[in-house]
């Protein structure tokens, strides 16, 4: 069964003088275990689409389902709780709470889910281990490199055991080595833990690593290829 389904998704921004049609009817289905890249020129609507799928914004029209839940119907704290339980987020930057250590940042999500302390600590350490940062558990984000911060962000996104992880240009601020490392990590988690990843990118090297590539332009899906 599909993890995500969108139906005729449209988004128009009216904040400026001229309305901007950021999305013009997107029908997209993401299956469990996918490793999918959203690709397209700047302004093509990648962030807008990810925000709608992640329940961070409301579409002008159309619907989004996450498994059986029509999240475009959810509002306020219900929507926030849904994001907390079901969706992992990795942003381009400012992913972490600067006053908390790497471990505390990961535990924080589980704390919001009211998980017991023992479990929180154990899982945070497991995840840090998985992203290769066990020895940086007690460092604050400011003491970590950009690549390390993004790895902690991935670990944080997985802490809640989400149905899928959305990553909007997670490598945009990284050098090529860190980019490669982060993609290795995501691919490994995808293969071994069956974590579903949807990420947007401009970067050809990142596109090459994706198994499915969805091309957007002017808010429409231009092509949708799955590599075998």
């Amino acid at each position: 069964m599909a993890v995500i389904r969108t139906k005729d998704l449209k988004k128009t921004y009216n904040s400026s003088m001229v309305p901007v049609h950021a999305l013009n009817g997107i029908d997209l289905t993401i299956e469990k275990g996918e490793f999918t890249a959203l690709v397209g020129p700047s302004g093509s609507g990648k962030t807008t689409l990810l925000n709608l799928i992640g329940g961070l914004d409301q579409p002008t029209s159309g619907k989004v389902w996450v498994e059986e839940t029509e999240i475009t119907q959810l509002k306020g704290n219900d929507l926030i709780d849904f994001r907390l339980k079901s969706i992992g987020f990795v942003f381009q930057a400012y992913n972490l709470i600067p006053v908390l250590t790497a471990q505390e940042n990961i535990e924080f999500i589980m704390l919001l889910q009211k998980r017991p302390k023992k479990e929180r600590q154990q899982r945070a350490l497991e995840l840090l281990n998985a992203v290769g940062l066990k020895d940086r558990a007690h460092n604050r984000p400011g003491q970590l490199s950009g690549g390390q911060q993004q790895r902690v962000a991935v670990a944080r996104a997985l802490a809640a055991k989400p149905k899928f992880v959305l990553a909007d240009e997670p490598t945009a601020n990284l050098d090529s080595t860190s980019t490669a490392n982060l993609l290795d990590l995501m691919a490994e988690l995808n293969q071994q833990e069956k974590v579903t990843f949807i990420f947007s990118t401009h970067d050809q090297r990142v596109i090459d690593r994706a198994r499915r590539v969805v091309w957007l332009e002017d808010g429409r899906i231009l092509s949708d290829e799955t590599k075998m």
Partner: protein, 405 residues
């Protein structure tokens, strides 16, 4: 962990947080100290009045207050005094013969209240003996008609210790009589009005002039504990229905009134300080939120609900206010304690205080409840000041907040 995050957040902008904490501490310190000073002033006046004239409780014939005539004595006064002294709450009781009259010297005359007292008994209820600045308190050197007068009266009459002055008054039969008295002591209290209009003679001398036999118009009571004044007054009123029993608040209603005004002034003063602090806090918190828009957006995106976000901002505000508040309160307590040991001499600025019955050396005091009250007010101010910034944060739209550069 929300506590931890909030606490660490306030230290992200150290200088800004320290400035607002310092402002809160300073505001409280100034406010509390001024209030302590005025409270000290009022208390000293109250104590002085209680000690030198009105005592804790007074008993009179019910008609005595209307027209202080000689005939309105307390029936079986001496027996009543003896039984009052046996009450466990009562520390001391003394009777007074009270009459209005004229005092005159070669230079001038003046209307006065004449209290006929038994010096040894009066010592127990009034500290006027401590206020003697010249001469002595009814020593044995003057056998006939000694009199104590106040400093202001002495100046007005141009008399000194050992001078002779004439008291003129109406006796029991309504006849005008006069007697010559010799000044044995001059007292100076914190109230120059009192010093001008009050004189003391021995009860036996006054009774002799009035042609009365141990006439007691007034019984003054000092209790072991001021707080017991109201319950004791209530009991006495039921036991002595034919007499008028008054507490110090009733004898000198202006005292309570002044107290009330002081309290109100203090409250208004605190309110102004708190409003100023509130604006400071609002400003600081708004800045803290505006520079963290993306982070707050991220927190909402990953699942921090509105209640928790609100709590976090509230906690940050409370920590700011509490830190400043605690420091300010401690510094105030220290200052009040220190200054209370030596007193603060305002005579340079305010020699005129004495005319209003206030001491010029002030010992500030603040009741412990007041610190609590102020603590609570700062707490409430902090919560109220947090509301607007928190509301601003709650209005953030996660998708837009994250986009913000």
């Amino acid at each position: 962990m929300l506590f931890l995050i909030a606490w660490r957040n306030i230290w992200r902008s150290k200088l800004r947080s320290l400035v607002i904490m310092f402002a809160i501490a300073l505001g409280l310190w100034g406010g509390l100290f001024v209030i302590a000073l005025s409270q000290g002033m009022v208390n000293q006046r109250m104590d002085a009045l209680i000690e030198t004239s009105i005592s804790h409780l007074q008993i009179h014939h019910p008609q005595f207050a209307d027209n202080q005539q000689v005939k309105w004595v307390i029936p079986k006064g001496q027996a009543l005094i003896d039984s009052l002294r046996r009450l466990p709450e009562v520390r001391a009781a003394a009777g007074r013969t009270v009459v209005m009259g004229m005092v005159s010297s070669a230079a001038a005359g003046s209307g006065v209240q004449i209290d006929g007292i038994i010096p040894a008994a009066e010592r127990q209820v009034s500290k006027i003996y401590e206020k003697i600045t010249e001469g002595a308190y009814f020593d044995e050197s003057v056998k006939r008609n000694p009199i104590l007068i106040g400093k202001k009266l002495a100046t007005k009459l141009k008399v000194n210790v050992r001078s002779k002055i004439i008291l003129t008054l109406q006796d029991r039969h309504g006849n005008i009589t006069a007697g010559a008295f010799r000044v044995v002591g001059i007292f100076e209290t914190i109230s120059s009005r009192f010093d001008e209009h009050q004189v003391y003679v021995r009860a036996e001398d006054l009774n002799h002039l009035l042609d009365t036999e141990n006439a007691i118009h007034e019984i003054a009571l000092i209790l072991h504990d001021v707080e017991a004044v109201d319950p004791v007054a209530t009991t006495l009123r039921t036991q002595l229905p034919a007499l008028k029993v008054e507490t110090w608040k009733e004898t000198a209603p202006e005292l309570d009134y002044i107290n009330e005004i002081m309290n109100q002034t203090s409250s208004i003063f605190m309110l102004i300080i708190l409003v100023a602090l509130a604006f400071g806090i609002i400003n600081t918190m708004l800045m803290a939120i505006l520079e963290r828009v993306r982070e707050l957006g991220m927190l909402m995106a990953v699942g921090m609900n509105k209640f928790r976000l609100f709590s976090m901002i509230l906690l940050e505000t409370l920590f700011l206010a509490a830190t400043g508040g605690i420091v300010g309160t401690l510094v105030s307590m220290g200052t009040v304690w220190l200054v209370a040991r030596t007193g603060i001499d305002l005579s340079v600025f305010a020699e005129g205080l004495r005319d209003f019955g206030y001491d010029t050396v002030i010992y500030p005091v603040l009741a412990p409840e007041f610190y609590l009250e102020v603590g609570l007010m700062v707490f409430i101010t902090a919560i109220l000041s947090a509301l607007y910034p928190a509301w601003k944060a709650l209005k953030l739209h996660p998708a837009e907040a994250i986009r913000t550069i």
